[in-house]
């Protein structure tokens, strides 16, 4: 949908926060050691050297980088944006999108079991995180039931991803409801860039098999296509007690994308997918129709879904651009109940210049969601079918105030079935005092609209045994009057491309949340058949939070063969229930997100055919769980043989035989992340 301007990926440390001085000193010491040794290896090529004196042969032997092209655009952006490139993806050796997101400072990624993750941006992490919007080529992949993402359903073959753009902070003005803490946009390659055949096969100690077969070709003179099939089978991991979990899974995915240049002014992309997965999890749940039975059992999850989308762009004579995006999604997921979801979305967007100084994007959109949720093991949805018609319109104007100062103003206006009209404005000021450096400040409001989980659910959350032989049930009920959760967010950022080899950016934020969801106990009453006490709890909007934090990221091309990326983030979450709230746990939910995260990645090209990549990710302890801090260390050796075949071997999570990343599974029992080795062959023809 909205083509976010492509921005540079990067991470380098420029510690300025007072809060973590000890950490900073240690990190600086590490960097100092690296610096002192690396100066020896630094590239002697001076950028001012006149390449025109080189012979053609020498010119052809120069290694090229495309850093500056990307970062020129970056310097004008008034938001904390991070881009994971295809090169980053390939060289990470990682096998799924959740793990790739670890590269972005400020993103919280925790694996719950082999097929589920808790992922969020700037806190509020949960398996059912509901404050980050996720899009694949502009199509929202939100589940309408809980307004979050089932990450196991988002199986884009990594080879086909062009880049993943992550915006931290509210994106409500352009992206709409639920882009509260950020937006993750997964952008796949144009089919003209995936011509020819591609076969990959991967096997490892935790993964028995993954394979991709793809072919891309031309359709007439104006069109290109690719079609692929993908299969994977992942082994179960161990439960905390040591016994084997039920979280093994397998799946298959077929898909295509076709891109057409209809004329000099018109382009069309059509793409579609069919995905099927079968997976398991260990669940402990109250069985609603056999009260007071609480059972731990292996739940089989089955998911089948398909999507189809088309995007048409027309460039008008004056250079303005009109884009129409339509998509259709249908899926069925069986997981402690059966959820059938249909989504139909249409967005129309117009991008034009107004006078010499204004760049305007305006759009209207319509999203129809239809859900049924039946057979829930611990309760029911009432009603069990729901529709939401979301109408939206937005306008965003980037105004060049002076040659180095630009102001962006905009707002979205939405109407949804749950809370009616919502308004999501933003203001950004970007100052570029000198070339390659910029400072931005911004203020924005965003909302999370309630979902059927908030309004229609009735579940038996837990059983309270009683000495007298009877029992009580804690019954959570949806609240039809629930309001949207709000955030007012303020940011200050600085970005500096020190030279051709080094760049960093710092972003700091203060976010003020109101009307956060709480569970409010009501008056207990006696129910019959069998006779028991019901302790009702209903969702309320009686908490607020003041969160603040900072993220640093930078990249450094130490030599032309060696790149370092570093990142660091701090987060302070302070959730407080209102005086009228009786929720005793909401204040603790901040403890599901780490306060500190740090990372260092290194990519070395050992020779023309050999590359070596290593990355370390430190994730601070979670006070709620509790879950101890851990460091993930991965290393990868890649070897290209001839034109078309390449091999790689990766070791992942090398520092310990196993570790735990998240405990709050909402019914689901977590499994341990194990050390693993993976081998991969890629053949292009």
């Amino acid at each position: 949908m909205t083509p976010m301007r492509t921005l540079a990926a990067s991470s380098f440390k420029a510690p300025e926060t007072a809060k973590s001085s000890r950490l900073v000193r240690l990190t600086l010491r590490g960097l100092a050691v690296a610096l002192s040794v690396c100066v020896v290896a630094a590239d002697p090529t001076d950028r001012s050297e006149d390449l025109t004196n080189l012979s053609l042969d020498d010119l052809m032997n120069i290694q090229v980088t495309s850093v500056s092209k990307k970062e020129q655009t970056l310097s004008k952006t008034g938001a904390a944006v991070y881009v994971i490139s295809q090169e980053d993806i390939r060289r990470s050796g990682m096998m799924n999108i959740p793990d790739l997101l670890r590269m972005v400072p400020g993103v919280n990624v925790a694996r719950l079991d082999a097929n589920s993750w808790a992922i969020s941006i700037r806190g509020f992490n949960d398996r059912y995180s509901n404050k980050v919007l996720v899009l694949i080529d502009g199509r929202s992949v939100y589940s309408g039931v809980f307004s979050g993402v089932y990450w196991d359903q988002q199986n884009v073959p990594l080879e086909n991803i062009d880049r993943i753009e992550v915006i931290r902070g509210p994106g409500g003005t352009v992206w709409g409801a639920n882009a509260v803490n950020g937006v993750i946009n997964i952008i796949t390659k144009n089919s003209k860039d995936t011509q020819g055949g591609l076969i990959t096969a991967e096997t490892g100690s935790e993964e028995s098999l993954e394979g991709l077969a793809q072919y891309g070709g031309k359709i007439g003179t104006k069109g290109t296509f690719r079609a692929f099939g993908n299969y994977f089978n992942i082994e179960p991991a161990s439960l905390v007690g040591g016994s084997e979990g039920a979280d093994g899974w397998h799946g298959s995915h077929g898909g295509f994308r076709s891109d057409w240049v209809l004329s000099a002014a018109d382009t069309l992309s059509v793409q579609g997918d069919l995905i099927q997965t079968a997976e398991g999890q260990t669940v402990t749940s109250v069985i609603a129709n056999q009260l007071p039975l609480v059972q731990t059992f292996n739940d089989r999850i089955r998911f089948g879904g398909g999507d189809l989308q088309a995007q048409y762009s027309h460039t008008l004579a004056d250079g303005s651009e009109l884009t129409l995006l339509s998509s259709f999604d249908r899926s069925r997921r069986d997981e402690v109940g059966a959820n059938v979801e249909t989504k139909i979305n249409t967005d129309l967007q117009y991008h034009f210049k107004l006078g010499g100084r204004q760049d305007v994007v305006a759009g209207v959109g319509y999203l129809l969601t239809d859900e049924t949720f039946t057979g829930l093991i611990d309760g029911y949805f009432s009603p069990d079918r729901f529709h939401d018609s979301l109408f939206s319109a937005f306008l965003q104007d980037e105004i060049e105030l002076t040659h180095n100062l630009s102001l962006t103003l905009g707002s979205k206006l939405e109407h949804n079935a749950f809370t009616g009209f919502e308004f999501e404005p933003t203001a950004q000021l970007v100052w570029t005092p000198v070339k390659r450096q910029s400072v931005w400040v911004s203020a924005a409001r965003a909302i999370r609209q309630p979902s059927p989980l908030d309004e229609n659910i009735h579940v038996a959350a837990s059983i309270i045994p009683s000495d007298a032989g009877g029992f009580g049930v804690v019954q959570i009920s949806g609240n039809p009057d629930l309001k949207a959760e709000n955030v007012l967010d303020y940011e200050l950022g600085y970005r500096n491309q020190l030279n051709r080899r080094m760049s960093f950016d710092v972003s700091t934020f203060f976010s003020n949340y109101t009307d956060l969801r709480t569970t409010e106990p009501g008056a207990p009453f006696v129910a019959t058949n069998p006779t028991h006490l019901v302790v009702p709890e209903m969702w309320g909007n009686l908490a607020r939070a003041h969160n603040f934090g900072a993220e640093l990221s930078g990249s450094w091309d130490v030599t032309s063969r060696w790149r370092l990326n570093a990142g660091f983030s701090v987060l302070s979450m302070n959730i407080t229930p209102d005086a009228s709230s009786r929720d005793t746990t909401v204040a603790l939910t901040g403890g599901y997100s780490p306060k500190h995260q740090a990372q260092l990645r290194s990519s070395v090209r050992l020779s023309r055919r050999l590359e070596w990549d290593t990355s370390a990710y430190f994730v601070g302890a979670l006070s709620n769980g509790p879950v101890p801090a851990y460091t993930r260390l991965d290393t990868r050796l890649g070897w290209t043989m001839g034109e078309s075949i390449s091999f790689s071997v990766s070791g992942q999570n090398l520092l310990s035989p196993y570790h735990l990343e998240f405990l709050n599974g909402t019914l689901v029992q977590p499994t341990l992340v194990e050390r693993s080795v993976v081998g991969k062959v890629t053949w292009r023809f």
């Binding site: 092209k69 240049v261 032309s560 430190f618």
Partner: protein, 184 residues
Amino acid sequence: MALLVLGISRIGCVLLALTVAAGIAGADEPSAEEYQVKAVFLFNFAKFVEWPAAAFKSGDDPFEICVLGRNPFGTQLEDVVRGKTVGKRTFVVRSVSTAKQAAGCHVVFVGGSEQKRVQPVIDELKGASILTVGESADFLENGGIVNFKIKDSRVRIEINSQCAERAQLRISSKLLSLADVSKK
């Protein structure tokens, strides 16, 4: 905090190990920004390609290097040719958006993102004594003469010799020997 420090010091160790590794990686290779290198190639084409006499008004008529559509060079192309001469000819860099504007250009560069959009213009330039230079996989198939591709992080050149002949451009054997030559 102890765990935090442990984590960081582990990262420090990794860093150190990598530093040593980079030392092993040994002598560094020269590197430059992609479009700086491509700009230098465009400059070099003036030396390694011969235009028919009719392409110039006079013996000291400047070389015109044109960029069709969006310009990916920033100021790098201007920076490269500033003050340079080949024979008596100086260089001029222009941005063009139509075939009409491209009349008088000797080299027309088409950025990768622009090719599809400006294909009709490329079609119109076919046969004119203009060295069309692109950077997308199907540029030569679509009537271009020279194409840049990136292989092993280096700029490689592909030439469609038949299109060059049709445009009455003579490409030096030195340049041909370094390029992938196709005839169609």
